[in-house]
Structure formats: C-alpha cells, structure tokens
Amino acid sequence: MEYLKLIGIVIIILGFAFHLDTIAVVVAAIVATGLVSGMSFMQLLTLIGKSFMDNRMVSIFFLTLPMIGVVQSHGLKEAAVSIVNKIKKLSPGKIFNLYLLIREVTCALGISLQGQVQFIAPLINPMAQAAASVKKPLTKKQTDLIKARAAANDNFGNFFSQNIFIAASGTLLMSSTMESLGHSATPINIVLYSIPSAVIVYIIVYFYNRQFDKQFDL
C-alpha cells in the first residue's frame, strides 16, 4: 500500500490541529513514515540521525542568542520604547504606519521583540486610542477596532519581514528543507526573494491604515 506513506502527513495535520505536543507529533510522524516505508528500526534510526545532522544548519540561529541575550538584559526593550515614545500627535493610522516600519526594520535585523506583549498592549494601543479620542470620546466598538488593528499591525510586520534576516529560523528552515528535498536554495537567495513581500505589504497596509483614520472625528 503506497498510500500508507502519507501517514506522516496525517499525523502532522491532526497533531497540530489538536494542539498535541509539537515535538512528540513531529517525531511520531518521522518514525511512522519510516516504518510504513519498509525500513528496519535500525535503518530508520540511522536515517533520522543522518537527516538531523544534515539539517544542523537550521539551528545555526542559536549562535545569535548570546548577543541578543546581552543586549536584551541591558535595555534593548527600553531603547526601543523610547524611540516609539517619540511618536506624538499623530493620527491612529499614522502611529500604526510608523510602528509597522519600525517593526519591519527591526525584524529584518533579526531583533525579534515580543511585539504584542512589549509594544502593542503597553504603548501602541493606548497611543492610538488617545489620538483617536481627541475631539470625541470613543464608542466601545471603536475602541475594540483600534485594539484589533494595533495587534494586526504587529503581526503584519512580524510575518512579512522576518525572512529578510539571513539567520532567521524560517529562512534557514527553507534553505535546509529544499536541500533535503534535493534542490539547492541558499539563505541569501531566500532573503532576496523575501524582500518584495515586505515592501508590498508595507505599501498596502499604509493605505489600509490611512483609510482606518476616516471613521474617527480627528
């Protein structure tokens, strides 16, 4: 039965969809796929070991952690906050646009901030709400919309620019997976082809955020 080989795909989809432990799910998918393909247990272990070693490059981003740890414990967040704090007297849309720019640039430099926790909740959301309610108090619905849009902007910046960083885990995963699948794709080329999406999303969201301003009495 050839189709049995697809058991790994089924395990991954169900395991992730049902929020089972991700590592256990992936290892189970690896073992199951190997076993149904007719490998002996020894052959399978050898294949897993070799494949894991061949893909060590994906984890090369661990090398960047000591430096990031040092700057983080010495006020990286504070420094970023003081830059964001300089955003004053702007409309909500303009605040979002500036934050998105900062988020995309820092992401491209490999600075992964916990945007929602460190910036959206304590800074961007209150700033945008204050900016929108200068002339008229906000309705509950408007407040909720601002919160949602602020959170959305953090996700836009994070997702569409993270692969521009050459040592990002996603970039390395792509390069290594393509290699495993028998087609070479260097990290630098992946970075290159990740740039258009980051630029295009900025342009689109820029107008999307400016449009957002129109519902407020500014």
Binding site: I9, I13, A79, L173
Partner: protein
C-alpha cells in the same frame, strides 16, 4: 582549515551554550520537569558538540528519546528569571540607541561575508554572531558570568520551539527518503495536471495557506506541503527553488493571519487587550492576508520561471 571545519567549530559552540542551558535547567528547582528539561538540552548539546563522531543510529535514538520526553510532558521552559530591571534601565540610559548596534552588525556583516567571500552564508552568520557578541560585551562592560547567564536564559526560554525547525527539516528529509512526494504527486495529478505553471503555483500557494490554517504553524506546513506539492508541481516544472520557498512560506503566513489555530498571534492579543470579539484581530487581518496571497501567486508565477 576548510569551510566544513570552521562550520563544525560553530556547531560545537552551539553545543556548549546548549549544555549551559542544560546545567541551569537541572538546577532550576522551581521547574517540575527539571530532569527532563535538563536532559533535553544535554542531548541536544551532545549532538551539536560531538555528533560528528557519533554513529548516526545513536543520534537517531537520542532524537526518539527527545520525542518520548516530549510525549510525557517532561520538557518545560519553567520560570526563566528575566533580566534585572534596574540594570536594564541604567544601561538603556547610558547606551540608548547604541544598543541596536550589535544587531545591525550581525545582519550586515553576515550578508557581506556571504556575498563577498567564499565562506558562504552559514559561516557568515557564525562570524557575525561572534563579532556582534564581542561588540555587545565591550559596550555593556560585562564579565563572563553575566554573558553565561544571558546565553543560557535565551536558550532555555526558547524551549522546544527552538529545535522544532530542525526537526521539521528532518521530517522533510525522511519524506524524501520514503518517497512521499511521488505518492502525493500521483494522487493530485489525477485532479490537477502537472506541467501547467500557473495551476501548479496556485495549487502550492493555496495549499500552503490552507494547511497552515488547519495546523496553525507555517513551518510544519512548509515541510509537508513543499515535499508533497511544491517540488512536483512547481520546482520539478522548472521553478526556482529559492523563489518557491520564499514565496511559499509567506503564503503560509497569509494562512496564519486568518486562523484561530495560531493562538499566539491571533488569540493572545484578544486576551491581552481585553477585546470582546474573539475574532477581532483576524477580521482586521483577513483583507491583507487575501491580497498578499494573491500577490504571492503572481510573484511566484513571474519570478520562479
């Protein structure tokens, strides 16, 4: 020394910082799963530092052990002590925007090395990491002990998420060895004819988005869908692997933006910002996600071939 030896040196370095994380995990009395968590980092540390000298089946066995530890919930991040707020404030006052310098050096130097030397992107990352770490240490005037704790803290707080990308790449390799791509290609070819560039691109990008929505994780979808659809329907038809990978992953992210399965991104802010509408964030993201998915399809069609 050839590039392989230099790279091996960097892998040993990674192994050492993982062993730091292991030591501190074993010592973390507040963590109910400290033994399992310590073992997890110890196993990884051993594989990275000495894997070159171990038989492959031993490494395979160790990976299965990690899987078993995870299955029985014996790997937990625990309460990793955050940085000292007083030091953070003082140093931020003193250094200000200079704190971004090491990150800037890391990003720029690694690209320069990979572009203008024969060392390649990986060694570029390694050299730039060490270089930027030295700059950070000089700037902050810290000693070895602080560097040690900053490193182990970062590694430990990654938890199992840190090794997930490499495990998924391993899954991709096992899929290739088992011939999963051929089976799916044959299955799907009954419905969609392989060979049509545009159809192949649409099929791959949409599948990336849909499967990410179901799984809530674009990395996992990438390993599975690229082997099953991306390679046979786009790359094998002459598509550039780098273009297909880069744009395929972003198609997956478009799925992430519209699924409640990606709780970290779409549900966490709802709780954090005390919003009434559970799907509020997703509703704000949906128009952009749809437009960007179409953008990926168009870009891939024109750039890949």
């Amino acid at each position: 020394m050839n590039t392989k030896d230099i790279l091996e040196f960097f892998y040993i370095f990674i192994g050492i910082i993982m062993i730091f994380a292991s030591i501190e995990s074993f010592r973390d009395k507040s963590n109910s799963a400290r033994i399992g968590t310590g073992l997890f980092w110890l196993i990884l540390g051993i594989i990275f530092a000495t894997g070159k000298y171990l038989p492959n089946f031993v490494i395979g066995l160790l990976i299965v052990v990690i899987g078993i530890l995870a299955l029985f919930k014996q790997i937990k991040v625990g309460k990793v002590k955050g940085p000292d707020e007083k030091i953070e404030k003082q140093s931020a006052k003193r250094l200000g925007a200079w704190l971004f310098l090491p990150s800037l050096v890391l990003a720029v130097l690694s690209i320069l090395i990979s572009q203008f030397t024969k060392l390649g992107g990986l060694i570029g990352i390694g050299v730039a990491s060490v270089g930027s770490l030295i700059i950070a240490i000089i700037m902050t005037k810290i000693n070895f002990k602080t560097t040690y704790h900053d490193s182990e803290r970062m590694v430990r707080s990654m938890g199992t998420a840190g090794i997930l990308p490499q495990l998924l790449a391993t899954l991709g390799a096992v899929f290739t060895a088992a011939g999963v791509g051929q089976v799916t290609a044959k299955m799907i070819a009954g419905i969609f004819p392989a060979g049509n560039h545009l159809l192949g691109v649409i099929l791959y990008c949409v599948a990336m988005a849909v499967f990410t929505m179901i799984m809530g994780n674009a990395f996992a979808a990438f390993a599975v869908i690229t082997a099953a659809i991306g390679i046979p329907f786009v790359v094998a038809q002459g598509g550039s692997p780098a273009v297909v990978a880069a744009l395929g992953m972003v198609s997956g992210y478009c799925g992430t933006l519209v699924t409640p399965m990606a709780a970290n991104f779409n549900s966490l802010p709802v709780a954090l910002l005390e919003m009434d509408d559970n799907l509020g964030v997703i509703k704000q993201q949906a128009p952009i996600a749809i437009i960007m998915l179409i953008v990926q399809i168009v870009l891939m069609y024109f750039l890949a071939f």
